[in-house]
Each structure stands twice: as C-alpha cells, then as structure tokens.
Symmetry: C2
C-alpha cells in the first residue's frame, strides 16, 4: 500500500462512521488537504491539547490490540479536553509507523481512535503518516467551551473540597496484569482492571456538567496519579493539599492483593485512570455531590482539602505525613 492509498483507507474509516455524528460544528474540510478547516463557535473559546504515545513507553504493541491502543490514546486526549470543561470538536493524528507494522493493524488503530472520537461527538479531521523506528502516535484534540465554563488547574483556593469523579488505581492494576501473566485474580476483577487500562473512559459529560457549576473552582484530569496531579493542581493554585481518603478501585484492591503490592500506591502513583480532580467551594460540596450522583449514577468521591500551606500531605491512622508528589515523570 502506498501512502496515498493508506490515507484513502483511513479517510474511509473516519468519514464513513462520522456521517451519523450530529456535531454542532461541521467540518468544512477534512482529511486530504494541507490542513483541515472548521467553523468555530462564535460564543466559545477553543481549547487544544496534544499527547504523544510511544510503543514500549505508553502502550505495548505486542500485548494490546491495535483497536485498544487507538482507543486508549484518543481517550487520554479527550480526558484533557474534559478537564477544561470543554466538548471535543475534532482530532488530528500524527502516526509514525514502525517497519514491521501491517496495514490491517494501522486501520484497526484508526478504528479504535475513531470509535472514541465519535462517541464524544468529535471527528478525526486530519493528520500525518510517516515511517519511524518505533510506532508512535501523537494526537491533538480541539474542543470548545463557553468562556465562563473554562476550568483551569490554578483556580483552587485553600479550604476547597478536593474530589474525584471515580475510584483510582484500576488502570495501573490492568497494566500489572499485562506485565505479569502469573497474577491470579477473580475473572470479573481481571476484566475490570484490563478494561480500565485498555479502554479508559474520558469523563467528558461529567467535566462539562461540573464546569457549568460556579461552585467548581479548579479541574484537571488524573493522568499521572493522584499524588502527582493533585500536587500540580495545588501548586498551580498557590496552595497545598491534604489527602484524607484515597478512593481505591475494587479491581486495584484485588490485583494489588494478588500481586503482593499496595493498592493505595496504585491509586496515588499509578496514573492513567482519567478521572477528573475537582476543587469545590466547601459549603457547596454536599449538594453538588448529590446532584452529580442523580445525574450520572456514580459518586463524586471526596479526597481531601486544599490547604493554605504549600506541600502535599496524607492522613494516616497515626496522623498526617508529607507525601512526595512522585507519580509519573515522563522523562524519568
């Protein structure tokens, strides 16, 4: 297959299944020109995010299907859009193809990405394909958000309640299962952990709903682990944070138990759960959490509070202790 033929095949995947998307922003010009074009919404800000994903660093080409690699990569970007309170509009994909890659594999990768984009009402509108020593994927997503709904990570204030949109650690548990086939764990927990790692759900609807509340001050997604990301949010907001409860996913508990590991460490340092971290005006939390549960059938889980003094602390049975914002350093 030549490059032009591959682009045509990708275009078929992306455009075929996009016809049904009732997107409010029609794409004026999609794949096949020097650039894609769209009409931005008049009343909204545009937002943009980029993620690079490399075989062997962010995913495991030999142990995951191409569809799931695509799914996971696109979901990670959608999560960044969600964290701004925005709705995704379109994505571009830069793909470096390793010499051994098969065409069928590449097309399946696009199907995985396209499935997630479509699920959030967005379209893959362009990209670039090239040879590379290892398969690498760089996705950029553009979204839009009313100016008043834009949620930054530096807007938290001391005494805000810190909450997350779901329990943490399952993605890391799924990674452990892929790395170590010897771990014995109940089938439903195994599936839950693998699902969390391979096909994570970006909280786009939740993010937009939370951002529409004046009681939500700061928001970001939890992609590098609660410790690192809450540490970043607190620092950006000129605060510290005290973690009082670590909401550990059942699958993380089960896998960590079987692997002889610390489930709480999965949640604090594992990353890639793609739940949203929000800070909420203290008196508004209970009411907001009730409405969140009514709306989404899931619990908005309190994690702790922002504090005046900088630094990250965690409450243990024996009292509070400082917590290093270890998490995932992408360069370490």
């Amino acid at each position: 297959m030549t490059e032009d033929q591959l682009v045509a095949a990708i275009r078929a995947i992306v455009e075929e299944s996009s016809r049904q998307v009732p997107g409010p922003r029609p794409i004026a010009l999609g794949i096949g020109d020097d650039a894609a074009a769209w009409q931005p919404s008049r009343s909204h800000l545009s937002v943009i995010t980029t993620d690079a994903l490399i075989d062997g660093v962010h995913f495991f080409g030999e142990r995951m299907s191409a569809r799931n690699i695509g799914y996971r990569s696109m979901a990670a970007n959608m999560s960044d859009i969600a964290a701004m309170g925005a709705r995704p509009v379109l994505a571009t994909v830069a793909l470096g193809v390793a010499p051994a890659a098969q065409e069928a594999w590449l097309l399946e990768l696009y199907e995985g990405m396209q499935g997630v984009a479509r699920g959030h009402g967005a379209r893959i509108a362009g990209g670039d394909i090239t040879r590379a020593p290892a398969t690498m994927l760089s996705i950029t997503v553009v979204g839009e958000v009313r100016r008043a709904h834009l949620r930054r990570r530096d807007a938290g204030r001391a005494n805000d309640v810190v909450a997350v949109t779901g329990p943490l650690g399952a993605s890391r548990a799924g990674l452990e299962l892929l790395r170590n086939e010897g771990i014995q764990v109940a089938q439903d927990m195994r599936e839950r952990a693998l699902r969390a790692f391979e096909t994570p759900q970006a909280r786009v609807r939740e993010g937009r709903w939370l951002a529409a509340s004046v009681n939500v001050r700061a928001m970001m997604d939890c992609s590098d682990g609660l410790a690192a990301d809450l540490g970043r949010l607190a620092r950006a907001s000129g605060c510290g944070a005290l973690i009082e409860h670590v909401p550990v996913d059942d699958a993380a508990q089960a896998v960590a138990g079987a692997a002889g590991a610390d489930a709480r460490a999965y949640a604090l340092n594992g990353g890639e759960d793609f739940e949203l971290i929000v800070t909420i005006k203290p008196r508004a939390f209970a009411h907001l959490a009730r409405r969140f549960e009514q709306r989404f059938g899931r619990t908005l889980l309190p994690v702790g509070v922002l504090e005046k003094n900088e630094g990250l602390r965690i409450r243990e049975a024996s009292g509070t202790r400082p917590l290093l914002a270890a998490g995932w350093d992408h360069l370490a």
Copy 2:
C-alpha cells in the same frame, strides 16, 4: 531536570519572546494546564495541520543544530497553513526525547521552533514531552482564514495556469551536501542550499495574499516535490497537468552539477522546498504575476497548465511524455 522543570524552562522560552507578538488572537491560557485555550475570530474559519518528524527520517540530529531542526519542523507546518491561505495563530508540540538527548539541546530546539512561530505572529501554546527510542517531534498548528479566502487543493480547473512562488530543488541540494561532504561547490551556492534545507521559509504572507485573489483557484504547498504534489492537486481537482517549465533553483543546479546528478530531478522529486503551488484563471495570470512581483520582489513562476485528461505529463525537447508522480512516499 525533571519533566516539570523542563516544562517550566520551555515555558520561559515560549512566553518571554512572545510578549512582543501583536497577535490578534490572545491566548487565553498557554502552557501548563490540561489544554491551551484561545478565542477564535468570529468571522473566520479555523484550520489545523499536523506533521510528524522523526530523527533519521526527516532530519539528522547529528548533522544539524537543534535550533535548525526546530526551525525546519515548525516551518513545514507553517507552510501547510500558508497553503490554505490562512494565518497561523498557535502551535502545539509533542516531543519524544531520545535517551541521549541533552537539556540544552531540547531548549535550543524550542528556541528554533519559537523563532519561526513568532516570525509568523503565532505562539507555541502547549504540548507534551515524553521518552522515546528516537527523537521525534509532532507539531500541530492552528490558523484562521476568512471563509472566502480558504484555498483547497481540489478547486483547480482544466486550463488553469500552474505557478509556484519560487524556484525548486535547493532543499534537496542542501540535503545532498549534508549527506556527502565531498561535494565541491561555490561557497554562496553551498550556503544557499544549506539554508534552503535547514531554515526553509514558509510562504505565509504570499499564501494569504494569493488566497485573497478570486483568480487563484487551488493552492497547496510543495513539500514532496513538484511531481508528487502537482499530481495530487490535479487528481484532487479531477484534472491532469502538463509541466512545461521546471523552475530549478541556482543552488540545485550547482550542487547537482557537482554531484553528477540531475538538477531537474531535485526540483521534481526532491521535496521540502515549501514553495506554494497555485492554479490561476488563465487570463488573470499575467496581471497577478506582475502584482505579486511588485508586492514581494520575487517572481511567481509559471510551471504549466491543468489539463482535462487525468495524468501528469512533462514537456521535453522531443515532445511531451508521461511523468510518474514519484516524489516522496513517506512510507516507502
């Protein structure tokens, strides 16, 4: 340096030198959050383009300065924006860092990218950094254009004059000089060829000016060689094309002569000259070319015509012959 420290150093480069940019679109939120945000222009379409560049495929980390690698990579994206008739607004950068990469090298890379972005009135607004087996760079640029000025590659019509904004082949000549240090050529030609390869100029002003003319029908940039790119433009427009003159750059002529190569092949198949290819209503060409020269002090060079019958042909001394749209297949 940790990831967070590196991001802070990059942010300093990008924001320090951006303060003077009188961009019409203020960035509401730059590097440091989950996504960057900006206010799109009310009357314009947004356009977006992405390029992936890999060490050893698109550039040579050992033979080029980090600054020039950055310069060249950003210029390639700006050229795609220029080819739509648009003005660049912002860029995001996804960077995969090879184990051997030095911090100073990375910061110099950003300085190179930032210089080009600033030169076109745009800003680097966000990105992602990660480890990778080889240095790789994926740049995405967003621009904006009045709807009536958007120039696609599929809008050419039979009998349109095909022209380019400058002579071709110098970039390929520069690549030959980097690959083969034994080539002997006059110093000014050597510098001209290396400059074309290392610090190519995106024709953003020219593209916006041409796109504002109702007599310019189709436009794209010449990044994969005249044969491949004009072949694509003609095919997209449902036409063929006849190349009557190949405008070969003096430096391409000099280097090809010294290397025992065909300078015309550099222009037809070399690529990465980043001149714009335009198709122009036949009766308007002479006047447009005159105004172009007055405005830019450079010649709008006629190359040939679009033809009714599909396929690419070239005029030789002995008559016309079919030309395979060889050019650069990024997967070959």
